[in-house]
């Protein structure tokens, strides 16, 4: 584990050289720990793949805190994917790009659907827009570089493939991923505020997702 400063108030911690299941288990342990502890000196934290960002209160000694927290993180027991929440998300596979994507990879549409709905994916980060999950675990046969020209509007709930990840558009936004289908599940809903504001987000980084084909 090592860290690099990110401006005067933040530290970017690199957990490992590689992004694999073991690294993600450590990242998950750190996120769950920080969510539980609510450390006063840390005003915000986030994770993506093999990195964790800690943003400290103005005036804190970043170098001292970064070393201190890295020691604490090293002592945490990794949290395996199997121990995290599993969300089953229904998908109607009627996306605009599914036929083209199938043809591109020499597969039938039915095969694209079965290959996409077979894995249990891991949420490696939420980003791009609020609650948008980058899901790892995509069948290598389905990996597809992003579209050359992004669409100006992709509807919320679109299930799509971008590079080696699949994901779900959380709000209507521009987007360059290939659209496979749609889910009626609202993965981000600003009106969902019970029991607290965190309820707006269906998924947390580190959770698992399984897509279930629906009519």
């Amino acid at each position: 584990m090592r860290w690099t400063p990110c401006g005067p108030h933040a530290a970017l911690i690199e957990l490992a050289e590689t992004d694999d299941a073991a690294t993600r288990a450590r990242s998950r342990a750190i996120l769950r720990f920080l969510e539980r502890e609510r450390v006063r000196a840390i005003v915000d934290f986030s994770a993506a793949f093999d990195k964790v960002l800690l943003e400290f209160r103005t005036g804190e000694d970043v170098a001292a805190l970064a070393s201190q927290w890295m020691r604490k993180f090293s002592a945490l027991k990794p949290v395996d994917a199997a121990a995290s929440a599993l969300h089953e998300i229904p998908v109607v596979y009627d996306g605009e790009d599914i036929a083209e994507l199938a043809e591109r990879h020499g597969l039938g549409v039915g095969e694209v659907i079965s290959r996409h709905s077979a894995p249990i994916y891991e949420v490696v980060l939420l980003g791009f827009s609020p609650g948008f999950p980058y899901l790892a675990g995509l069948d290598p046969k389905l990996c597809t570089p992003r579209r050359a020209s992004p669409r100006p509007r992709v509807p919320a709930g679109s299930v799509a493939i971008g590079g080696s990840h699949t994901g779900i558009y959380s709000i209507e936004s521009p987007g360059g991923w290939h659209l496979l289908g749609t889910t009626p599940v609202r993965i981000f809903d600003p009106a969902r505020r019970e029991p607290d504001d965190e309820a707006m987000f269906l998924l947390r980084a580190g959770d698992r997702v399984k897509f279930v084909p629906a009519e």
Binding site: C6, P8, L53, L125, L126
Partner: protein, 282 residues
């Protein structure tokens, strides 16, 4: 109590505060005022705390009608209103507050005594329409303010000269080495630090594109990583982009530098054509 009606929004008006901090792991950027220095002074001039919700206006064209006599302040970019920038005074019911001509800077702040009341989402009143949180103001919107204190302010008040800013003459912009600084060739590092830069017109609350030199980004792809506001990413086309307050929470381009938060409030106000240089913060 309703204090202000939006007649025209101009090029864009929204309610902002110091932003929603603590939600980055859900993909929610901080949002909040682009120029915290000016916004804090607008609030102070009407007796609010620095972080009270206020209006952020882009350039020019906004027009408001005052519904209840209150003390208002304007700070940041000068846009020709009857309250000049960095000043506060009471405005009577029925009077119109108009921002016809932008003269310097990009963002003008309008504060009202008691603070504008806007619903909070994730602990902040800041609008972030791109992310489905809040919306831009529209003509016909009527805004309320918190209750007025009993203390009666009279006359005009203003910000000390030393705190007023001339956005056409920004000081050196302090920059920290970014996480991928070492990956850039020394010639590229020098080019970045030596060039004179300006903000492109293709810039917004998400990101400011910089023009001045083309940098050769290091070869190879990197995994996306969490980013802080002020990160200077260099995409393959070599034109740096500064992550601003509505910018993405993760980024996959190498970051050559990170703008110091103090300098970022200056940079936020740099219009296209205003030149600035970097000074290493280390």
């Amino acid at each position: 109590m309703e204090v202000l009606e939006i007649v025209k929004t101009g090029l864009g008006a929204s309610v902002q505060d110091l932003g929603r901090i603590g939600w980055k792991r859900f993909g929610v950027p901080p949002s909040g005022v682009m120029d915290p220095h000016a916004a804090a002074w607008a609030n102070r001039l009407v007796g609010n705390s620095d972080g009270a919700p206020l209006l952020e206006l882009l350039l020019q064209g906004a027009k408001f009608r005052v519904l209840t006599e209150r003390r208002f302040a304007v700070a940041g970019a000068e846009a020709g209103a009857r309250i000049s920038a960095w000043h506060a005074r009471s405005i009577a019911r029925g009077e119109v507050l108009e921002f016809p001509r932008n003269q310097k800077g990009l963002w003008t702040y309008v504060a009202v005594h008691g603070g504008f009341e806007a619903g909070e989402v994730l602990g902040s009143s800041s609008a972030y329409p791109r992310g489905g949180i809040g919306r831009m103001l529209q003509p016909g919107d009527r805004l309320s303010a918190g209750s007025a204190s009993d203390v009666l302010h009279v006359g005009e008040s203003w910000t000390a000269w030393s705190e007023q800013r001339d956005y056409d003459a920004p000081p050196l912009s302090r920059v920290w080495r970014g996480p991928q600084w070492e990956l850039f060739d020394p010639a590229e590092q020098r080019c970045f630090l030596d060039a004179e830069w300006e903000v492109s017109s293709r810039s917004d609350r998400v990101g400011y594109r910089l023009e001045g030199a083309r940098l050769n980004a290091p070869a190879g792809e990197m995994r996306s990583e969490p980013v802080v506001v002020g990160s200077i990413q260099v995409p393959p086309n070599g034109q740096p982009i500064v992550t601003m307050r509505d910018g993405p929470t993760v980024g996959g381009y190498p970051k050559i530098g990170i703008v110091d938060p103090e300098s970022l409030s200056w940079l936020a106000q740099c219009r296209p054509g205003v030149r600035f240089r970097w000074a290493p913060a280390e």
